[in-house]
Amino acid sequence: MPPKVDREKCDGCKAEKESLCEQICPGDLMTLAEDKKAYCRMPRDCWDCMSCIKACPKGALETRIPYQLGYHVAKLIPMMGTNTITWTCIDINGKVERFQYINRGMLD
C-alpha cells in the first residue's frame, strides 16, 4: 500500500539529491520521478510503516488502505512535534478520532 502523493504539494524536497521520503523509506521504495515528484516504485512492497508520511515536511504524503481491504475513504494523519505526535483518524463515516502523546523523553 504505497503512500498517496499529493503532487501539487510535493516539491520533491526542492529537487535535492534525495527527497526526505526517499532518504527514510526502509524499503528503498520512495524515489523521485523525472518531474522531481516523489512516488513509490514498487507499490506491492510497501509495509505502510508511515515513516515517509512522518518525514514529509510538506504534508504531501498520505497512507491509504487499498480498496480490496478497506472502503473509501479513511484517513490517518500524523503530525510530528519535537517530542509529540498527534494522530487524526477519520473513518469512512467521517467520524474523527484524535490521539496525542509524547514520543520522546521528558515524561516526568
Binding site: 526526505l20 532518504q23 512535534g81 519535537t82 505526535i85
Partner: protein, 785 residues
C-alpha cells in the same frame, strides 16, 4: 560532557509589593518550592543583601543555575551575573522571567487566574532553566584591512577615513585613474565650485600615506572566506608604463603619433546648423594613445592604450627620459587578505537614446546633462535653451524612480550658464521640481533670474526646425495651453542607474540587488549593510544620491566596517548548532539562510560560518528534522516551555493562546501593551524568539498536541524583517501546516501568522481579543484533554 543534575535556585524579586497586589505570592512560592529540581525558592525584596548567601549556596552546590523572576534592569542583570561569575557561575546559567510583561498585574483580572498564570509562566521558565548550559562567547581573529571597490568620490573618501583611523586599505578601480563620475563634472552645486578641488584634497592624503594601496586598471576576480578573514584576488591590466619610473613629464605624449577620437554619437547630418555644429565641436575630444590616467591622473603615471598604438612605432620608448615605457607588460594577479569589503561602484547615466521622443542621438543639439557639464567649459553662443527634467525618470518604461539630483543639476547649469551668457533664455520643462533641503535656495535663486522660464509639462515632440533649431511642442499643464518653442539646445536630465561595475560585483559577491539593480540594504537602520555580512555598500551604488550624500554614506560604511576590523570578532553564543546525528543533508537550512552562512563540509553536511551568521534562527525554523538549535535557545528548551504550559488552566472551554513573538517588533508591542495598561487578556502566553522565521512547525505541532487552542506567530511586516525574509519563510511554512490542519479537520486559523510593528500595542491587544473570540467560536482544541 557529564550532565549535571539541574538544581535550581528560584528567586522572585518583589519591588514595593507590586506582585503581592496582583497574585497570591505565598501560594506561588508554595507551589514552586515543590517542583522537582527547585532547591531554593524564596521572595527577595532587596537584591544586594541576599547576594552573599546566594553566592554561598551556589558554591556549596545547593544549586547550579538560577531563575530570576521579576523585573530586572539590564544593569541589575549585569551586576548579578558578574557577581556570581566571580563565584564560578557561568553567566548563561541565569534565566530571567518577567511575569509582569506577560500581563500579571493587569487590572480587572481575577486574582486566582493571575496566580495560576504566574505559576505557569514561571514553570515555563523553569522548564527552560533546567536545560540551561554554560556557554562561552567565541573569539575569532580578524584582519585589520579593508578592500574598497571603486575609486569614485565615495571610494576615495572611505579610503581616507580608514587611513585616518589607521587601517590598511586596498582601493581597486577598473579605470586608469581615480575620481569616477564626479571628476568628469564641471561644477558642483550648491557652491558652484570645481569638483577636482575636493578630489585633489583626498588624493593628496592618499599620496602621503602608505596605508592606502591604489590599484587602477584592476578588477576583483574572487572573494573567498568570511567576514574578518576575506581572501581577495584582483586582476590588474597592464599600463605599459612603469608606475615606479614614470614621472609624468609628458614627453611621450608629444611624440605619440596615435590620436584616439573619443566615442562619438551618430548625428543625422541633415539637421545640423551652426549652433549644433558648435555643440558637436565642443563635445568632441581626442587623446593620444599614451596619456595620463583618467579621469583624475592618480596614480600620476601615463598609460598606453595598446589597441590604438601602432605596434612598430616605439617613439615613446625612445624619448622617455625615465625609461618607464614597458611595452612587454602583461596582466597580472594579486592576492591579499582583508577583514571587510566596501563596495562603492557608483552609477551610470541612463541611456537617453532609449527615450526616443526626444531625439537624443539623432539631433546634434539634443544632449545629456552630463554632456552639458562639458559644454559649460566653453559654451557656444546659445540664445534659447531647454532643460527636460525626468527624461525617462519616474517613467515605468524607463527608470521608475526619481534620481533626486537632476533638478538641482539643471538649476546649477542654468545658474552657471547665465553667468556666462546672461541673455540666454532658459526653459525648464518639469513634472515637479524636487530640490530637497537647502537646494531650495538654489531653486529660489534661479527662479528670480531674468529669462528663466519654468514650464510644468514635458514636451511631447521634438522635431528639427527649418533653421536647424529644435521645434518643441509642449503643454503647459497649468494653463492647459500648447506651447511651441524653437530652441538652440535641449538638455535632457537622464537619471542615475546602477553602474555596470555594480552588476558585475553583485554577481561576483552574490550581493542582493533591489528591483532597480541598486544594492539591497536595510534602508533605514543600517543603510550601508548589504545582506552579506562584512560587505558594506556606500554611495550611489545603493541608490541615487548627490555628492555630499555619497560622502556621508561612504563615511558611514567605514564606521560600520570597524567592528569587523577589530583584533577579534566576538561571537555571542546564540548561534545555531547542527546535530549531525539527525541531519539528513536536505540542505533546506543552506537554501533558506538569508545570509548564505552555510557551506558544505567535507562530508556534505551543512557547516556554519559563524562570522556570517546573524543568529536569526531561520535555519532552526526550517529544519524538518529539528536538528538545528540556537545555542542559548534550543529547540528542546522551547519544547519544554510549551510542555509546561497547561492549556486548560482556565477551564477547558476558555481558549489559551501561545504567541511566538519576534523580539525585534512584536515582542515590544506586546510588552508595551502591558506597560501602557492596555487590557491584555490573561489567555495569552508568549515566548520570545529572535525572528518569527525561527519557529519550527514541529513546535507549533507540539503546542497543538498539548491542547493549546491557538498559536500566534507574530513577526515583522513585509519588507521590514530584520533578517530579510524570516516572516516570508514562516508564512510559507505555516501555509503547509494550515493545509495539513485542514486535512485533519482542524480549523487552520488555530495557527495564525500576523505582522506587528513595534508600536502596534493596541493592535496586538485587539488582535488577541478578536482571536480569543474566534477561538471561543471554534470550541476547544480537539487535542485538549
Amino acid at each position: 560532557m557529564q550532565k549535571t543534575i539541574p538544581k535550581i535556585g528560584l528567586f522572585i524579586y518583589e519591588q514595593g509589593g507590586r506582585l503581592a497586589r496582583a497574585i497570591d505570592l505565598d501560594a506561588v512560592i508554595q507551589r514552586l518550592a515543590r517542583i522537582k529540581n527547585v532547591t531554593r525558592c524564596e521572595v527577595l525584596t532587596d537584591l544586594a543583601a541576599p547576594l552573599p548567601s546566594i553566592k554561598e549556596d551556589f558554591t556549596s552546590d545547593k544549586f547550579n543555575r538560577i531563575l530570576w523572576v521579576g523585573k530586572f534592569s539590564d544593569y541589575q542583570k549585569k551586576t548579578i551575573q558578574s557577581e556570581l561569575s566571580s563565584a564560578g557561575l557561568n553567566p548563561y546559567m541565569h534565566e530571567w522571567c518577567d511575569i509582569e510583561e506577560q500581563g500579571i498585574g493587569i487590572d480587572g483580572v481575577d486574582l486566582g487566574i493571575q496566580t495560576q498564570k504566574a505559576i505557569l509562566i514561571i514553570q515555563m521558565s523553569l522548564a527552560r532553566t533546567r536545560l540551561l548550559e554554560p556557554l562561552e562567547p567565541l573569539e575569532l581573529p580578524a584582519i585589520d584591512a579593508a578592500l574598497i571597490i571603486g575609486a569614485g568620490v565615495s571610494g576615495l573618501h572611505t579610503a581616507t577615513s580608514f587611513m585616518e583611523l589607521g587601517k590598511k586599505v586596498y582601493l581597486v578601480e577598473k579605470e586608469s585613474g581615480v575620481g569616477g563620475k564626479v571628476a568628469s563634472l564641471h561644477r558642483l552645486y550648491p557652491r558652484i565650485c570645481d569638483p577636482r578641488c575636493g578630489l585633489e584634497f583626498e588624493i593628496q592624503k592618499i599620496r602621503e600615506s602608505d596605508m592606502v594601496e591604489v590599484h587602477t586598471l584592476s578588477k576583483v576576480k574572487s572573494l573567498e572566506g568570511s567576514p574578518g578573514n576575506f581572501d581577495v584576488r584582483i586582476e590588474k591590466q597592464p599600463r605599459y608604463v612603469s608606475e615606479e619610473k614614470c614621472n609624468a613629464c609628458g614627453e611621450c605624449m608629444k611624440v605619440c603619433p596615435a590620436v584616439i577620437p573619443e566615442e562619438q554619437r551618430s548625428r543625422e547630418s541633415a539637421f545640423i546648423n551652426e549652433t549644433s555644429q558648435q555643440v558637436l565641436n565642443s563635445l568632441k575630444s581626442e587623446k593620444k594613445a599614451i596619456h595620463p590616467a583618467v579621469p583624475m591622473p592618480y596614480p600620476p603615471t601615463f598609460l598606453i592604450e595598446r589597441q590604438s598604438c601602432p605596434s612598430e612605432c616605439r617613439e615613446c620608448v625612445k624619448v622617455c627620459p625615465a625609461q618607464a615605457i614597458e611595452l612587454e607588460q602583461t596582466s597580472s594577479e594579486m592576492a591579499f587578505k582583508v577583514g571587510a569589503v566596501i563596495v562603492t561602484t557608483g552609477w551610470d547615466p541612463y541611456q537617453l537614446s532609449k527615450v526616443e521622443e526626444y531625439g537624443y542621438g539623432i539631433y546634434p543639439n539634443v544632449i545629456s546633462n552630463l554632456e552639458m557639464e562639458r559644454l559649460l567649459e566653453s559654451p557656444p553662443a546659445i540664445e534659447e535653451i531647454g532643460f527636460i527634467q525626468c527624461a525617462g525618470s519616474r517613467d515605468e518604461r524607463h527608470l521608475n524612480y526619481c534620481s533626486s539630483v537632476c533638478c538641482s543639476v539643471a538649476l546649477k547649469h542654468v545658474l552657471y550658464l547665465k553667468e556666462k551668457l546672461p541673455d540666454a533664455r532658459c526653459y525648464i520643462f518639469y513634472q515637479d521640481i524636487r530640490t530637497p533641503g537647502f537646494d531650495e535656495e538654489l531653486y529660489q535663486k534661479v527662479k528670480s533670474l531674468h529669462n528663466v522660464i519654468f514650464i510644468r509639462g514635458n514636451p511631447s515632440t521634438v522635431k528639427p526646425g527649418d533653421d536647424g533649431k529644435l521645434k518643441i511642442r509642449t503643454e503647459d499643464t497649468f494653463s492647459g495651453k500648447e506651447i511651441d518653442l524653437s530652441l538652440d539646445l535641449l538638455v535632457l536630465a537622464g537619471g542615475m542607474m546602477p553602474s555596470q561595475g555594480s552588476f558585475e560585483i553583485a554577481q561576483l559577491l552574490n550581493l542582493p540587488q533591489n528591483n532597480f539593480g541598486f544594492f539591497e540594504s536595510h534602508l533605514q537602520c543600517h543603510p550601508e549593510e548589504s545582506q552579506r555580512t562584512g560587505i558594506l555598500v556606500g554611495g550611489a551604488c545603493r541608490g541615487p544620491m548627490n555628492i555630499s550624500q555619497s560622502i556621508e554614506s561612504s563615511h558611514r560604511a567605514a564606521m560600520e566596517v570597524l567592528p569587523f576590523l577589530n583584533r577579534t570578532i566576538l561571537i555571542e553564543p546564540k548561534y545555531p548548532v547542527l546535530d549531525l546525528t539527525k541531519c539528513d543533508k536536505c540542505k533546506r537550512c543552506m537554501e533558506e539562510c538569508p545570509f548564505l552562512s552555510y557551506v558544505f563540509d567535507e562530508n556534505g553536511f551543512p557547516s556554519l560560518d559563524l562570522t556570517k551568521c546573524r543568529q536569526c534562527g531561520n535555519c532552526m525554523g526550517i529544519c524538518p528534522l529539528i536538528a538545528i538549535s540556537l545555542r542559548n535557545n534550543t529547540i528542546k528548551q522551547i519544547a519544554a516551555q510549551i510542555q509546561a504550559l497547561k492549556s486548560s488552566f482556565m477551564g477547558k472551554e476558555e481558549p489559551v493562546i501561545l504567541a511566538f513573538l519576534c523580539e525585534n517588533d512584536a515582542y515590544h508591542a506586546a510588552k508595551s501593551a502591558v506597560e501602557y495598561g492596555l487590557p491584555v487578556p490573561p489567555n495569552v502566553f508568549f515566548i520570545k524568539v529572535p525572528c518569527a522565521g525561527s519557529v519550527n512547525n514541529a513546535l507549533v505541532a507540539d503546542a497543538l498536541a498539548f491542547g493549546i487552542d491557538g498559536v500566534l506567530i507574530a513577526g515583522c511586516k513585509d519588507g521590514q524583517c530584520h533578517y530579510v525574509k524570516g516572516n516570508q519563510l514562516v508564512k510559507t511554512r505555516s501555509g503547509d501546516l494550515s493545509d495539513k490542519l485542514q486535512k485533519m479537520m482542524i480549523d487552520p486559523q488555530r495557527v495564525r501568522f500576523e505582522s506587528l510593528e513595534i508600536r502596534d500595542s493596541k493592535k496586538y491587544v485587539e488582535l488577541v481579543k478578536s482571536y480569543i473570540e474566534e477561538l471561543r467560536a471554534m470550541g476547544p482544541n480537539p487535542f485538549k484533554s
